[in-house]
């Protein structure tokens, strides 16, 4: 698939998404909003794990921190949602940077365990400060992010467009960073940390920055969460949410742009589909597990990787075939599309 087709496809997808509120109802648009914030959350994990090779089971906490920050700022301190946006992202990023410090010394499973601690502790905080946060009952926001009156559109559609715009910006930023010098060092640290260090990459600073950016993005998802739901509760940010984000990343495909979107759609629609088919919902986690095993086994690049492979086959069928024995590369190996320094 060449660049132009790729661009046209993205443009069509975006166009369809932008126009969606004119054609589908409120319930569907609310569902799209959820897919959007889940996409951003999965992407934030993708930036850390997919591009930089650092593991985290703590992203539910970063989301929760920003979501609660927004809720408290708007509900208890009279901020506007817009004022809470940069502040909540910043707070999440700062916590992320702090959480990234241990990542300098530990890797892989051990790092995952440290972030797991964060995810397990976070839901206790709102309960500890029940007076301010409503505790386990959660906290309802009376104020909503309403549409400006001169646009004459419904609030739901407006919120959807705001979320879509921010998500597109975030994805665009990730895409451009990935193609930049910084992006190449980030990926180099994942693949060959020692070689990257030798080549002059400041491994420590890069790792912490990636952690901070990733947490900040998760924070953006948290802000979106509060905007969408006008409600936060500790049960929305349990460690299970982190694990679902990991699942979304694996299913969609790590290290890609489309992957998080597919992963988020999977996370949102599959549980509903399970109930709709009449299968006992108790089996949803079993189904998740099964899908995960199948994906890891047959589609190591996730759904996006699989699609890219498929597209490559189609395009190579029309062109002179590549030298025999060269396998189609999954999109996750994007390093290969950029020239090596």
């Amino acid at each position: 698939m060449n660049k132009t087709t790729n661009r046209i496809l993205w443009a069509v997808l975006l166009g369809a998404l932008v126009l969606a509120p004119f054609f589908v109802g409120t319930v569907e648009i609310s569902a799209f909003q959820k897919v959007i914030y889940l996409s951003v959350a999965v992407m934030s994990l993708n930036v850390l794990t997919g591009f930089n090779g650092q593991a985290s089971i703590g992203h539910s906490a970063f989301m929760g921190i920003a979501a609660y920050f927004t809720a408290l700022a708007v509900q208890s301190h009279g901020w506007s949602y817009w004022a809470a946006l940069p502040a909540s992202v910043l707070v999440a990023a700062l916590v992320g940077a702090a959480a990234g410090v241990p990542a300098l010394r530990i890797r892989g499973m051990n790092l995952a365990l440290v972030t797991l601690g964060l995810a397990m502790v976070f839901p206790q905080l709102p309960v500890r400060f029940t007076e301010e946060t409503g505790g386990t009952q959660g906290m309802i926001l009376d104020e909503s992010l309403g549409a400006p009156a001169f646009l004459a559109v419904s609030d739901v559609a407006w919120r959807y467009w705001v979320l879509l715009t921010l998500a597109v910006l975030a994805f665009w930023l990730v895409r451009n960073t990935r193609a930049s010098r910084l992006g190449r060092s980030i990926i180099a640290i994942r693949d060959q940390p020692i070689a990257a260090h030798t080549a002059g990459v400041n491994v420590a600073a890069t790792k912490i920055s990636v952690f901070a950016v990733s947490a900040g993005m998760a924070g953006l998802a948290g802000w979106m969460f509060t905007v969408t739901n006008q409600f936060v509760s500790p049960s929305d940010f349990t460690v299970l949410v982190s694990i679902n984000l990991l699942l979304g990343m694996a299913v969609g495909g790590s290290g890609t742009l489309l992957g998080p979107v597919i992963g988020a759609a999977f996370l949102h629609y599959v549980p509903d589909a399970v109930t709709a088919t009449g299968i006992d919902p108790v089996l949803t986690p079993v189904l998740y597990g099964l899908v995960l095993i199948l994906v890891v086994y047959f589609l190591p690049g996730g759904a996006a990787g699989g699609l890219a492979q498929l597209a490559k086959r189609f395009s190579t069928a029309r062109k002179p075939s590549p030298p025999a024995g060269e396998p189609a590369r999954p999109v996750s190996q994007l390093t290969s599309s950029t020239p090596n320094p």
């Binding site: 661009r7 993205w10 443009a11 975006l14 166009g15 932008v18 126009l19 969606a20 509120p21 004119f22 054609f23 589908v24 109802g25 409120t26 319930v27 569907e28 648009i29 609310s30 569902a31 959820k34 206790q124 309960v127 500890r128 029940t130 007076e131 409503g134 505790g135 386990t136 009952q137 959660g138 309802i140 646009l151 559109v153 419904s154 609030d155 739901v156 559609a157 959807y160 467009w161 597109v168 665009w172 895409r175 451009n176 193609a179 969460f225 739901n229 006008q230 409600f231 509760s233 049960s235 929305d236 299970l240 549980p271 509903d272 109930t275 006992d280 919902p281 108790v282 949803t284 986690p285």
Partner: protein
Amino acid sequence: MHPRPKIMLMAAALGAVGLAAGACGGGAVNDTSGAAAGGSGLTRNCPDNGTTGLTDTTIKLGLSQPLSGPYVSVGGQLYGMQAYFGYINSQGGIKGPDGKRRKVELVYKDDAYTATKAKANVDQLINRDKVFALLGQFGTAGNLAARPVIAQQCVPSLFATTGAPELANPKYPWAIAGSISYMVEGRILGKYVRDTTPNATVAVLEQDDDLGKAYRQGFDQAIAGSGVKVVKTETFEASDPDVKNQITTLAATKADLYFNISSGLTGLQALNHVHESGWKPQVIQVSQLPTPLLNKLQPGAGDKLILGTTGQDFTNPEVVRNSAEYQLYLQWLRRTPGADKIDPISASLGWTQGRLFDWTVQHAKSMDRAGVMESARNLDYTGPTFTLPGIKIRTTPGDPHLLEGLRFHRFDRGKGHLVPFGEVIDIDGQVKYEAVTG
């Protein structure tokens, strides 16, 4: 760098086209569900949708509750509810004030006990599935999260499965709780203590959240001005693995009474620790510790335990034998698909909710949402029930608490069930809404 911004421009152009054409579209962009309509009292600011979910022969009800996830075990009510609707549908359906019989269609969704998922489910049930009302909506946080949706669309949310005092908030008249409020229960426990031991000293173990605070607030109100004195309070987090330190501190007070505001396995653990400490207080237990759990106590640990309950103890075979209603329930539960793996006692709540809904519809003045909601807020139920005789099942517009009475029970370890004593204490009509202040 790359010409990607062109795509953004294209998208923006598309959006502009859409906006220009927006006025004629029928999608979410023109959603007016937030717009206010006329009406008075209950229906002030309600959209004109009072008979949504009704046909001449059917009535559609919705429910969001955990069907998967760590709290799946508490979701048995669905099966009890299905059993009741199986029964009533076999009789031709629920008779409305218009004389028509309607069969019940129940639409249920899984929220895995996550509040935001519950809210999304309620949104779907109301706006997509077009249910007439919600029944037995599960969990405190889920109910509170969904409350704005319910209020905006004026959909009755009847007999919700939660004891949060917040459900009685008069600002939100479209939701009503089905369980006894934690605060009311705390008040009755306090009243009992005050009446039976007017000069007692009390040591309290309290779960440090809105549940624990609601119990405590009710208890403190009841003992205020009496000689009963709380000499020590220890708190714990619901996730704490052990409460031994707290119990050691409380045991040192040698208080006459121990008020155990803890539930589930933590509650059990606390009672065992009290027993081991050698402290022998009278134990006042909140009702969230079901009999099957009490049976797991160390021998002797439950000897001085009393608790108040609203329901009959169906772990006692004699009670089961004497209740025609329970026999009928079991008969229909057995015919409900999937119910074989469910504990009949916990599922019986759903049957009760079905019964109450049936009664509410029968006694409504008009067959629409406002009529049914008014009826639920003016309820005086005298039909067959699992509730203990003597406890009123009654609401008024000023006091939407369905249950405000308890009967006290001792735990008999030898027989493995609860033994009632004394009279029912019912404070029906004396309870006003009050926020939990902690």
